[in-house]
């Protein structure tokens, strides 16, 4: 199911359900606008690229206008009944270990690792996507995995 795929990529990139949900909404709008640009091929690769680009656009936007957001942990333990079932579910679902460990990586490493190991792109495809040399991609993926291993150990 492709919705879960997008959501998984979004969660791995953003690290929390709240931001992942926002990212999914943006991705679905972009998918709708981009239907015409889809060419037969890997649908997941296409969706993964759109998700990553939307994420990076958001990161750049935040860098220009930094906003302070309380960490999700605060929301998760905040008192008060959730407004609806969806919200309750999102609150109950703590990010898994992999998602938490990914958040500890520098963003450059995280994006490359997610594109490689979650979306399934090849190094040259990731290099094209991020506009960096293949050697840089290889190095980011390797360092990212090494750090991830230490976090998960």
């Amino acid at each position: 199911m492709h919705g879960d795929f997008i959501y998984t990529v979004a969660l791995r990139l953003t690290g929390n359900h709240h931001d992942a949900q926002d990212l999914v909404q943006e991705v679905l709008l972009r998918v709708q606008r981009g239907l015409a640009s889809f060419r037969p091929g890997s649908l997941e690769a296409w969706l993964g690229r759109i998700t990553t680009n939307a994420f990076l656009d958001d990161v750049r936007r935040r860098r220009r206008r930094p906003v302070t957001r309380l960490p999700d942990v605060v929301e998760l333990v905040a008192p008060g009944a959730p407004r609806d079932a969806t919200e309750a579910l999102a609150r109950d679902a703590l990010p898994d270990d992999v998602t938490v460990a990914l958040q500890a990586l520098p963003e450059d490493y995280r994006v490359s690792v997610v594109l490689c190991d979650v979306v399934g792109l090849r190094y040259d495809e990731i290099a094209d996507e991020l506009d960096v040399p293949v050697g840089t991609v290889r190095s980011r993926i390797h360092r990212g995995r090494a750090q991830l291993r230490r976090k998960l150990a």
Partner: protein, 173 residues
Amino acid sequence: MTFPSGEHASEHAGELLSALLDDELDVDTAQAVDRHVGRCPECRRELTDIDEARRSLREAAPVIAPPGVITGVVTRRRRATRRGTTLGFAAAAAAAVISLVFADPATVGSSTAQVGAGQKAEQEARSSRDRPSNIRRAELLAAAGNAAAADESRPSFADRAEEAVRDLLEFFG
């Protein structure tokens, strides 16, 4: 790339270990890295660690999107379409496709109903004073990305739209 380079015969494989696991090395380099790992305990250990990190991501089950995350957009879109405001049939068609692609398997069976809703939206759009503009048609045709949809000889816009939806569904099949 050669490994190890002549004057640094003692160097470790480093990031080539990830490239090895990802099948991103040429045959010669892959064999050289393999040989090195065979006689270098440090690189062997690193290869195991990297492999574990790699598999922890690749083998992790997809996270199930909480209900409403995917369908929320589609529902809002359809409501807007029914109001006959800013969204034309192209949006309805795209929404139908998106809901088919992303919705729960349980709701996928209602594709006919969704196409029907699209037709209704298109009829409403036609009955309103502003006929579907050329821009809307262009959107639809672009969305279909298919010569069949551009066939001007077909009798009704609704027919062509339905065909466009089928084309999109095939795209995503």
